[in-house]
Each structure stands twice: as structure tokens, then as C-alpha cells.
Assembly symmetry: C2
Homo-oligomer: 381 residues x 2
């Protein structure tokens, strides 16, 4: 069998590294054709030597470095041109392992090239889900999400002839689930970054604490599975063993379960429609003993309601929500604002925004820019 040719965009981040572990586990099945990384060019260099990609995108410092050292058989691109790698003829699957809105152009490029796209990135679908999904249908690009919740829904729906009535997105509840509301104000980035279930980057961990992350997933799920917002519910499940569930018209639910290791959904996307051993230890429910569930507390975590509302309003609003949140969380992580101000700032920006309906890509990017500027005004210097 011809190996599957991969482009891994964001190969030095957490998802990128886990993707390469999956490649290691099934090295004959995959060929790494493209890699990209923004900053960590030293790790990228090691990856180039090990996986021998023919196309690599990297930030300016890395470009300068590789220009000096040179690596035979590798074409280098500025990181902003990683879209070219995503749409290379020889690439079968594009893993979008980078975070941030920077993933939007490579996502669109891959979709237009009719690739299979395995996105871990949330932002692109949140801000431009309609555009991406329209293009995906047009170019018959297949999207197999890597995010554990979206992968769970994808797996539950795989081959089912019935459409889902409701999708239940599970959420660990984040690091503040057991913290009293009155203590939220004095939560430092350090307090927040001790996330109980999934090891993730700092931005997404803060978004888990506010439940904004789950709000983004609501928007993602809407686009990925062609749902209305009223068909999406959030369920707190601290053990994060049930990765999400689908409920059908008859009240029957299918759930996908597994250990909390990103290699599972990554491998699923890369070997789809086959399933192969992961080399990881399996789930032992008897040993685990108990799974818990509770309703999300929307009073303590208003960001989730706000996300549902922004999602319902649609148009340019999700882009504004995302941009304002990125700025506010960034300011929190730098110690510029306190934890509760994240929500306050995002809410204010959202309320000030005049929605553009059915926005073009340009209108989305304008809304994004506008929201960042508004947020920065509120953050202050």
C-alpha cells in the first residue's frame, strides 16, 4: 500500500508532536511530506532530519537559519505561505495542528485542493465555518476533526443512517469547576494552568476555565455536523472519558469513550476509515469506577452562554467573539487584567459589534481586526 502523505502544520506544538508519535507508531503507513512551525526551528530541524519532509514552512528566524545551514531536498517557505504546503499535489492529509486564526488560510487552501483535513485548530471553523464547509462540499474535501469532542461525534455518526437529534458535547468543567465564584477574581494564570484532564497550551486552558473553549466547540460542531444551535448541548463530565455523545430521534444515545490521550483522535483521523492499534493502554472502566455528570453552571461561567448567543447571531459575530477572547486571554496571561475581566471585555466587544450577515472572508477578517482593537482599548496599556 502506498503510504499516506501528510502535511503537518504546526508540527512543534502539542498536537504536532502527538501526530508525529502516531507516525512513529505506524511509520510504514505514513510519509511526512510537509511540516511547518512558527518559532521553534531547532525542534523543527530535528523533525526534518528524522522525517525527511520535502516541504517546510517556518518563521523568519528559522528561514535565516536554514538558509545558512541548508538541508538537501527540502524546499523552505515563509510560515505565512504554509497554505502552499497544504495544497501540494502529493499531500493526502493535512493536519492543522496550529492554533490561532493563522490556520484559516491553510484550511481554506487544503479544502479547495480537495484534501482530507484533520483540524485540531478551532479558530478557523469558529470564525469562518460557513465558508470552509461550503468550499469543502464544493471540492469534496473530507474533514475529520482531531479535537476529542468533535472526533467523538464524528465517530458516533460514522455510518449511521439517522441524523442526530441532539449532540451532547462533554466538558471536563475546567480548572475552576470546584472553585467558589467569589475566588474567581484572584485566580492567577498559574492557578488556571493546572488543568485537570488534558495537557494543552495556555490559551486553550484559560478558555477551558471560562468554558469559552466549550462555546467555541459548540460553534465548531454546528459547522462540522450541520446542526442548529438548539441541537447542541453541553454536559459537564469531569473524568473526560466520554468524549461526547449523539442523541437520536428515539432518545437513544451513542457515546464515544477512551482514555484522555490526543493520539487516539489523531490516529483515527489519519488512518480513517481503518482503525489500528495505538500502543496505548486501553480504558478500564471497572478500575475507574465512576463517571460523573452535571449541568454547566451558566451563572458561574457566563462565557458559555455568550458563545451560544454569539453563535446564534452568527454572521461576523463568532469572529468577534474569538478575536476579543484571544486578546483578553492574552492580556490575562501577561498579568494585565484579572480573570473576571476576560469575560467582561469579551462581552463588551460583542455587544458593541454590528453584525455583518453572510460575511465574506474579508468581512470576517475586518471584524476580527475591529474586535482586537476594541478589546485592546478595554484592556488599556
Amino acid at each position: 500500500m502506498k503510504p499516506v502523505s501528510l502535511a503537518i502544520l504546526g508540527s512543534t506544538g502539542s498536537i504536532g508532536l502527538n501526530t508525529l508519535k502516531v507516525v512513529d507508531q505506524h511509520s510504514r503507513r505514513f510519509q511526512v511530506t510537509g511540516l511547518s512551525a512558527c518559532n521553534n526551528f531547532k525542534l523543527l530541524e530535528k523533525q526534518i532530519k528524522k522525517y525527511k519532509p520535502s516541504h517546510v514552512a517556518v518563521g523568519q528566524e528559522g528561514l535565516d537559519h536554514f538558509k545558512k545551514t541548508g538541508i538537501k531536498g527540502v524546499t523552505f517557505y515563509p510560515v505565512k505561505d504554509c497554505t502552499q504546503i497544504a495544497s501540494l499535489k502529493e499531500v493526502d492529509v493535512v493536519v492543522l495542528a496550529m492554533s490561532g486564526t493563522g490556520a484559516l488560510f491553510p484550511f481554506l487552501g487544503a479544502v479547495r485542493a480537495g484534501k482530507t483535513i484533520a483540524p485540531a485548530n478551532k479558530e478557523a471553523l469558529v470564525i469562518a465555518g460557513d465558508l470552509i464547509m461550503d468550499e469543502a462540499r464544493q471540492h469534496q474535501a473530507r474533514i475529520i476533526p482531531i479535537d476529542s469532542e468533535q472526533s467523538a461525534i464524528f465517530q458516533c455518526l460514522e455510518g449511521q443512517r439517522s441524523k442526530p437529534a441532539v449532540v451532547h458535547l462533554t466538558a471536563s468543567g475546567g480548572p475552576l469547576r470546584k472553585v467558589r465564584s467569589k475566588d474567581f477574581k484572584r485566580m492567577t494564570p498559574k492557578d488556571i494552568l493546572r488543568h485537570p484532564r488534558w495537557k494543552m497550551g495556555p490559551k486553550i486552558t484559560v478558555d477551558s476555565a471560562t468554558l469559552m473553549n466549550k462555546g467555541f466547540e459548540v460553534i465548531e460542531a454546528k459547522h462540522l455536523f450541520n446542526l442548529s444551535y438548539s441541537q447542541i448541548k453541553v454536559l459537564i463530565h469531569p473524568e473526560a472519558i466520554i468524549h461526547s455523545m449523539v442523541e437520536f430521534a428515539d432518545g437513544s444515545l451513542l457515546a464515544q469513550l477512551g482514555i484522555t490521550d490526543m493520539r487516539l483522535p489523531i490516529q483515527y483521523a489519519l488512518t480513517y476509515p481503518e482503525r489500528m492499534p495505538t500502543g496505548l493502554k486501553g480504558l478500564n472502566l471497572a478500575k475507574l469506577g465512576t463517571l460523573n455528570f452535571e449541568k454547566p453552571d451558566l451563572k458561574r461561567f457566563p462565557a458559555l452562554s455568550l458563545a451560544f448567543e454569539a453563535a446564534r447571531l452568527a454572521g461576523s459575530m463568532p469572529a468577534v467573539l474569538n478575536a476579543a477572547d484571544e486578546e483578553a486571554v492574552g492580556a490575562f496571561l501577561k498579568g494585565k487584567i484579572d480573570f473576571l475581566s476576560i469575560y467582561k471585555i469579551v462581552e463588551k466587544v460583542v455587544l458593541r459589534h454590528t453584525i455583518v450577515k453572510n460575511p465574506s472572508l474579508q468581512a470576517i477578517l475586518q471584524a476580527d481586526q475591529w474586535a482586537r482593537i476594541e478589546a485592546q482599548k478595554l484592556i488599556g496599556s
Copy 2:
């Protein structure tokens, strides 16, 4: 759309009544063509008047009754000839709602007639699973199980391109899960018949107490899903919300969840591949709060090990296991033997049996008869 024509064999029992409730819920979708009942001909008469079947099988007392009263447009059969109803040309789906080995012939008849069969009956598959499944393949008969666990597995596998690595059958643990082993001896039928999760007949409730019922389901699942015994595991899950799970090669699991109401799996089988509203309230995991899991205690419930062993030995052994158990449980329910003697008797009969490999139908029935006689000897008078 032409209504689906149903034959409901065992229409006055618990599964039969629930099947008719499903028919009531979607009355335009179904036409009841055949009904059968052994004894309760008064209830059967009401059902005949309401659902207007054209073919009815009933025990001798009922036959006599209907001969006297007469019902226009209904052909009556002795209950042993209900196989004829199962294979009627105009029948689409045969619901095997009767318990006991008596279901074997109608099951085979329906399979040979290429029907869709919705079995709630365990015995037929336990004693003659190989024969039934061979004939089903030959005649392209579809079997959509109604048993909640088997239905769950069927639903989890529906449309999946990967074969299951392991099937996890969940078990509520039965009425003795929290009872100390030393108290087992003095358990009366009355103690046992307070089953915590599913309302069922007395025989199956006693089998739930010994976990023999789960052992039978292991054998059933083996046949229904073409598994080896090493691919089947049992997991105690007292809330009975996860009805069973399928684990794939990558360690990912799919689970089917729902409220504990038999109308769910019955309706699924009857409307397959569609799913329709049930009119029942849905599952509320947040309200439920907790799901628990534990390993089955094979020391306290040796019947489960015995069933696995009989299952592994195969041939005529499962038929012997089933027959000996039916006799022993019957004797327990009549107060002839104590609770612990159920296992002792079944084990002795199993140990005394000389296995017939690849048994014919006749050999299976002989083994069944032999086991009943052996069990009765041990029960005494």
C-alpha cells in the same frame, strides 16, 4: 408507505405488550398480521379485537375458546404451529417475544423464510446459534436483536467499517450485587424477584441474580456478531444506562445509552434503519449524576464463568447449560431447592455431559432433553 407487517409471537408477555405499545405509538406504520400466546387467551382476545390480526396461534384452552366464540377473518393455529405464522408470505418482521426453547422452531422458520427477525428470546440463539446464523446468512434473513444489550451492540456497530476488537456487555449486577455471599443460601424467590433495573419475568430475574443471564448473553453475542469468546467481556454497571459497548482496535469505545425501557430497543428493531420518536422521556445524565462500573465477582457468581466455559466448549454444551438452568431455576421458583443449588445442579449436569460437536438440530434437542432429565434427577422429587 405500505405499513410494516408484524408477527408478534408471545404477544401477551412483557416484550409482546411493549411491542404493541410501540405499534400504538406509530399505528399507521405497522400492521399486526400475526399474534401468538400460550395461555393467556383472554388478553389475546382483547389484542385480536384491537389489532385485527389475520393469523393467531394459541394453546389448547384458547383454541377451544375461540372455536366456540369464533372471530371472523382470523385463522387459528395450535401454538406449536406458530412457525407457520412466522413464515407467512405477508409478514415482514417477526418479533420473537416468547421465552424458552419453544422459540427455536419459529426462529428457524422465520430465518428460512428470509424475514427480518427481532428476537427478545435468548434460548434459541444460546442452544442453536450456529444453525440459526448459518441459515440466516443462507436466506439473507436480517436479525435485529431486541435484548437491550444486543441491541446496543448492534447500534454501536451499525455502519462501522471496523470490526469490534472487544464487546463489553454491561450487567446491572442483579438483585444480589450488594448481598453478602453467606446470605445467598437463604435467598427466597421473593427476595430475588425484586430486581433493581428491568422488570422481567421470574426465570430471567433469577438468571440475573446468578449472572447466568449474562452468560447466556455472552453466547448470544458470540453468534449475533460473529465473535470469539475471548472478544466478549462483562462489566457490572448497576444503573443500566450504558446498555453495552464496543471497543475497536485503537482502544476507542462506542457505547449505546438510554433509559431502561424495552420500548427503545423494540422500536429500533421495528423501524430499522429509521429512528423515530418514542414518546418516552429522554435520558438526563446530569440529573442522574453518576454511572458506576465494577468487575463481575466470579467467585460470588460462578455461573458466569460456567457459561463462558460452556460457551467455549460449544457444540451441544450451551444447550445443556440452558436446559439444566431452566430446570434448576424452575425448581428454585417452586421452592424445591435453595438458591445455591441452582448453580450446583447446573454445574453437575454440564460436567456429566459428553459434548456433541457441530450438533444437528436433533442432537441439540436430544442434549436438551438429556440435560433436563439429569437436572430433574438431581433436584429430586
